[in-house]
Amino acid sequence: MSALLPFLLEIGTEEIPDWMIPAALESLRVLFEGKASIPFDSVAMDATPRRLVLRADGVPLKQADITTRILGPAKSAPAQAVAGFARKQSVRAEDLAIEVTPKGEYYVATKEEKGRPYKDILAEVLPGVIALINFPKTMYWTGKGGPRFIRPIRWIVALLGEEVVPFELAGVRSAAITSGHRRLGAREIAVTTADYEQRLRENHVILSAEERRIKIRKELAGVRVKPDPALLETLVYLTEYPTPIVGGFDAEFLALPEEVLVTVMRHHQKYFSVEDEHGKLAPQFVAVMNIPSDPEGFVRRGNERVLRARFNDARFFWETDQKKPLAARVPDLAHVTFQAQLGSYLEKTERVKALVGALGGDAHAVRAAELLKCDLTTELVKEFTELQGVVGGLYARAQDEPEPVWQAIYDHYKPESMEDAIPRNRTGQIVALADKLDTLRGCFGVGLIPTGSRDPFALRRAAQGVVKILVEGKIDLDLAPLVNDGTDGARALAEFLQDRIRYYFKDSRGFLYDEVNAAMAAGWSNLADLEARLIRIRNLRSSPDFEPLAASFKRIRNILDQQKFSGASAAAIDPKLFEDGPERDLYDEYRRIAGQPIESVVSQLRPKVDLFFDKVLVNAPEDDIRRNRLMLLGTLLLEFSNIADFSEIVTTA
């Protein structure tokens, strides 16, 4: 075994978008580990905006030598054949050995293949590995047809032990030279695998994302920062040497809605917001710089000035927009396109209003539907599009709309994700439901159906929202008639919704897929009811008699299907045809339990069913007896089919 060496690969680039970095590292790791030709003990990944780094331990210096022996012709073979064999194996005929085998003596060629240095193998493999790293978007920079990467590659460090793994990619030759912080580090820094991280540190680059994360958190101890893990991650991958600083703004801006202030700070400036001891927004913010300190306060004052300008803009919009109340903006919606084939937002508003009525919404809901999209005409929403809905709600409140109305407008894009809450009041739930259903019906109606990852109108989110609102709002509504108008689009939408329902109950609520299938087979249109049945099934599952009974139901289903039997009905059973014993016992049991909930009968029913299948031949030769038995089984299955199709339950038995 040859010596084991550390391996270091650093791909030096221009600034990679922060959100792409973790996935790129994972992609690089998988690609490297997928190269079976490179053995190693462990792999560690790190990155800053300007470098993707892979470090492996325990890479051997070279491959082991391989000796192969190839059996040739028999010793008795003509000399010509022996020479031919030797030529084919690229050895001299006189170097062939003779081996004694049970079948006789044979010529043998022995070939020594020298193990190749891993440095050479890596040099061949790495350009391909780097080029294949997966990014959501790539560019070319060396000219048309040149290599593509997320941003230009400017240097590459590739070291196996103390030796450079030599290769070239996009005109960059691998070397043992890295680069420091753009302004606080040296541009060229010689490194070894041993001092790499330390040399970077000396040049104001903290290689480890975790260390950068901890540095930000630690230096913020004592500041009441509104927790924002997503923003923290952004900043961790936007900096090589992060240092938080606290800045302030004029308290008079606190008169603006908190939502607006936080959005300006978070989305536009990447600042953390700060709270006072009562949890109210404080006139402060935290910016994270990419340098170690700000002794003269340049950075703090610069950021304060930018924020002041932004807040001034927001205040200007807030005040200007109020000059024309939401209600006066409804006609303006005629000029805002919802979707080319689906008309303007004014038309959408009319449809949503009608739908709110059909869903049983009250006068508040109708009012909210009328004002729902008016904020799309405001300057504030044009400036901060991510605040649509919220801004409408805030204006409605400022314009003295009743609480259920302004809250409904405020919340109507909710839930925006699986984790997000549904609108806080019933008015809002109905309005949000109507808005989403209208979008779904409209888009499916004109063939805008999501495919794969393409979902430009966020219809998955809308459908998920419909499901979540109906279930979590415990709204007693039949969904199917609302989406079904008999067209192809409606059929596609019904299927789409069923997929979302399945997804919701499985992935968000933790029901097992067979439970969901079983319950949905008994109906999916009323989601509050579906949820109640799912809970019953889950509870039933803990009974030891349930799965065997479900297995029997499956058997019944198979028998009925085989016999092409349908039309089960208790009235059609002829008790006179039953034999005494297990058959009549099952019938009596059925009569006893009919109409009772399955939970209270499962333990008595199961032994009767088992015994029936044990002793009774369903496929009796006599037609009337067979038919009567099928009738009994079919009726039994039907008895519980309003809860679920239990034959869908996957049993271990």
Binding site: M139, K144, D294
Partner: protein
């Protein structure tokens, strides 16, 4: 403290020292320095080029009657095109900031993802907005496509927002307060311009007349493009640059109509398509014409 004009002098000097031709602003109204032929047409083809110029950029909808301290109907961009982009282009850019007196060891500079796209020009690129202490001061783009054509050489485009940069350097809250030259503020020079154009663009521009102008310019550009014959022996003298001026006129009139509230959202896409079609047409013809010219020179 450097005045507005001194900052411009220094940046021009800096880029001139790095091989840029220093051009004067283009004399047709544009919404951005990218639209000038010095960028839009020069980035096409395989001839290296380096140019820098200050371009007054008109965005009628951004006018605020001179009231808003940060928003202008017309702002000044320093546009730098380095074709092909040098390997140390970011270093060169950062040094340009140091050349106008920003000590980057004491300021926070970040490159935040911001990919630029102009549907009207059929152009897009990959890049960043450069943030200085939280202020966006430059758009940095590696052009990938222009006029719908994949570019042979990838140029770096640096667009400096000169008013912002100056306000930053002079520590002013309002662009109107920055010092243009000793004794003259930006407001002294430009306030009336902002006020009157806001009044015109938002209140008084004659919509019917603008539509008529739009159609005239559109018609002229389309007429010329139709006459361009790639097989003609003397195609090198065909007036594509004047045709492109007509496209620029269309674009500016479109922006004015938009600010005037005369274009519905539905119409918007259609009008953008019309301008785009002309811009892409000029770009393709230009690429063809330049190829012939380059070949001629080579002989």
């Amino acid at each position: 403290m450097s005045s507005f004009q001194e900052i411009i002098f220094k940046l021009k000097q800096y880029w001139a020292e790095r091989g840029c031709i220093i051009q004067e602003p283009y004399d047709v109204e544009v919404g951005a320095g990218t639209m000038c032929p010095e960028t839009f047409l020069r980035v096409l083809g395989s001839e290296p080029y380096r140019v820098a110029y200050v371009q007054p950029s008109r965005r009628p909808a951004d006018g605020r009657y001179g009231d808003n301290p940060n928003r202008l109907f017309k702002h000044s961009q320093l546009q730098v095109i380095l074709k092909p982009s040098p390997d140390d282009v970011i270093e060169q850019y950062l040094a340009s900031l140091e050349a106008i007196g920003i000590d980057l060891r004491k300021h926070d500079i970040k490159f935040e993802e911001d990919n630029w796209e102009s549907p009207t020009l059929g152009a897009w690129g990959i890049g960043w907005q450069v943030m200085l202490d939280g202020l966006e001061i430059t758009q940095f783009t590696y052009f990938q496509q222009c006029g719908g054509i994949d570019l042979d050489l990838v140029p770096a485009e640096l667009t400096y927002g000169l008013e912002r940069l100056t306000a930053f350097l002079q520590v002013r809250d309002s662009v109107y307060d920055i010092e243009w030259a000793k004794g003259f503020s930006y407001g002294d020079v430009r306030y009336r311009d902002e006020l009157q154009y806001s009044v015109y663009n938002f209140e008084m521009a004659d919509i019917a007349m603008l539509w008529k102008l739009f159609e005239l310019h559109e018609g002229e550009a389309a007429r010329l493009l139709k006459l361009y014959n790639p097989k003609a022996a003397d195609k090198g003298r065909f007036p594509l640059l004047p045709a492109y001026d007509q496209v620029l006129k269309c674009s500016n009139i479109f922006n004015t109509l938009d600010a005037r509230g005369a274009i519905s959202v539905t119409e918007r896409v259609g009008v953008i398509q019309r301008v785009r079609k002309l811009a892409v047409g000029v770009a393709h013809a230009w690429a063809d014409q330049r190829q012939a010219v380059v070949a001629e020179v080579a002989q």
